[in-house]
Symmetry: C2
Subunit: 243 residues, 2 copies
Amino acid sequence: MTVPADFFKSAFTVDNVIFGFDDGDLKVLLIQRAEDPFLDYWGLPGYFVNADEGLKEAAYRVLEEMTGLTDVYLEQIKTFGKTGRHPMGRVITVAYLSLIKVDDYLLKVKNNAVAQKAEWFSISDIDDLAFDHKEILDTCLDTLRRRVQQKPVGFELLPPKFTLTELQHLYEAILDTELDKRNFRKKILSMNLLIDLDQYQENVAHRPAKLYSFDKARYQEFLSDGYSFDLSENKRKSRTLQY
Amino acid sequence: MTVPADFFKSAFTVDNVIFGFDDGDLKVLLIQRAEDPFLDYWGLPGYFVNADEGLKEAAYRVLEEMTGLTDVYLEQIKTFGKTGRHPMGRVITVAYLSLIKVDDYLLKVKNNAVAQKAEWFSISDIDDLAFDHKEILDTCLDTLRRRVQQKPVGFELLPPKFTLTELQHLYEAILDTELDKRNFRKKILSMNLLIDLDQYQENVAHRPAKLYSFDKARYQEFLSDGYSFDLSENKRKSRTLQY
DNA sequence: TCAAAAGTGTTTGGGTTACACCCATGA
DNA sequence: TCATGGGTGTAACCCAAACACTTTTGA
């Protein structure tokens, strides 16, 4: 029989799937690895969890090392633990999804020892990554798509002031569909999640759009509440059982 | 700097939250521990993951050791890794949720070395468990409540033949609400998930109810599809953005 | 004949959908 | 004045919700 001590020979890591929205496109922040294994490969930012550190704490640490950001959306998604997924031994990894505003990131980026460099990639441009990171990315992308239909987390990806069209483009990029402008606005505004700033775009070669920010207090309600922000892309009947 | 070898000193386990439905009540299968730490405490069935074993594989193994069942619903929920959660060292645990038919279990239960005995508990009767198992249980219960509104996993908990009232009671027990009989039936039947067996209850002191089984092929579609089985308990408007 | 649960339809209200034209600005 | 995106309303439909009485059986 295996004695318990035999089990204390494995390690675990956290990997962050950091999404951003820029240029009308959903992006992920990847690093080019500076060490073995998978030297020079692109992969998700992540690292071993220290002995005295919780999982989420470790994910925040990695995130801060990468971006300098501390106060961001971070959610545990899934744990990947196939045998053989890491050449150095038995390593399982806990995947976290985070959402940041690309602007903030650009101001504070710094590199660290693990990564030669970091870059944003459009999700459609990524095919192969170090370890099983592609699988992890795909899983997190699925979750993100579900998430934005349940909770208005999309706002985490936008700058503090944005237009309704930008918001709509964000949803369209994440869900990979087109949305009807009038219905989208009707719906969003009916949620009272937005604050009309009474400000307008400047220097645009067309009628300037109104700027909005979102109501953090009300946003918090939506985050904790179960809530249906059902941007259903489908014709499938989304039947609802009453009670 | 910590060298990688230093990280290979931790262990991980899987813990199963096994739900069943019996006697009109949602239950969880717990074990009374036969070894330290937490000797004699009640807790979730779980154990260390072997070096040559995947996570899900380990969860299935534990499940089979406990119940003799192999072909059951099993889903990874969340990983718990606070420092200090395990007295023997750094141990993180991956929580799995599984759904079984209590009848099947009753036929095949066997005990194992880790557990003195196993028993079903009504979820409302559980307050304290070994390790952080109460927190894990609560997390899985939340997930179950969400799951049954998204996918018709409730069927996993029922015997092969059941009545509409039993199905309704199951949903009521999981969601802790009351549902309208006519609306419930209308909705369920409109999904074409059920097969009318043209059989009836026998020896009941009232009008016997029709028996149904569920359509596994159609069920599979629903499982893979995103799908909304929105038994919304709330008055909250579940607004839906078109596309 | 009584108790206990099974079974069954209709109306109302609200949200989703589909859809087309005018407005404001900079070039 | 032209190109570009911003901004607006209405009608049809479908689904959720609310709600009460009759039927069948065993005791």
